[in-house]
């Protein structure tokens, strides 16, 4: 098993409603991309002022399965319409859970 974690800082002016819509669109992906084993995402709870704004944490059986997800048209549609144009900063890591 491996895990993919990614987080974003939204551009100034991006509304909470956009973040909620993005979470909704991402949460539909496990039903569309069978390689996803586990998938969670959401908006930062505001405990630490230096935190990023939004994160995804997902599990896959293999790095190949993660790549399939990464490049999947349903995922790319969300990335290109709801994430890319709205994100000021992004950080990601894929790591082996075993």
């Amino acid at each position: 098993m491996m895990r993919h974690v990614v987080m974003f800082r939204w551009k100034e002016g991006v509304e909470p409603a956009h973040a909620a819509a993005t979470a909704g669109a991402l949460r539909r992906l496990p039903a569309l991309i069978p390689q996803i084993v586990e998938y969670a995402c959401g908006t930062d709870l505001g405990v630490a002022p230096t935190n990023f704004d939004f994160a995804v944490s997902a599990r896959f059986a293999s790095l190949d399965d993660y790549i399939t997800y990464r490049d999947h048209p349903e995922h790319q549609a969300v990335v290109q319409s709801m994430i890319g144009p709205f994100v000021a900063e992004r950080s990601a890591v894929q790591f082996d859970e075993s």
Copy 2:
């Protein structure tokens, strides 16, 4: 349930052995801090050149349980001896999984 994700970029010159030792020290925490429901961490697999170097993804029943972990002396010992002095960049998000 809520999830805590954090990632680091190590300072230049930090060796892979240090990252492995840090992962080992962090992986002992679930046995020491009962508030941890699920805990995974590891070194970036190198698929994306812009990625950070290391990440932790952990689950807690509540934000209070996360705070207990965050401030727990066993966690703080790892943060202060193995993470803080060696980290160039850090990003984190806590989000609600429900």
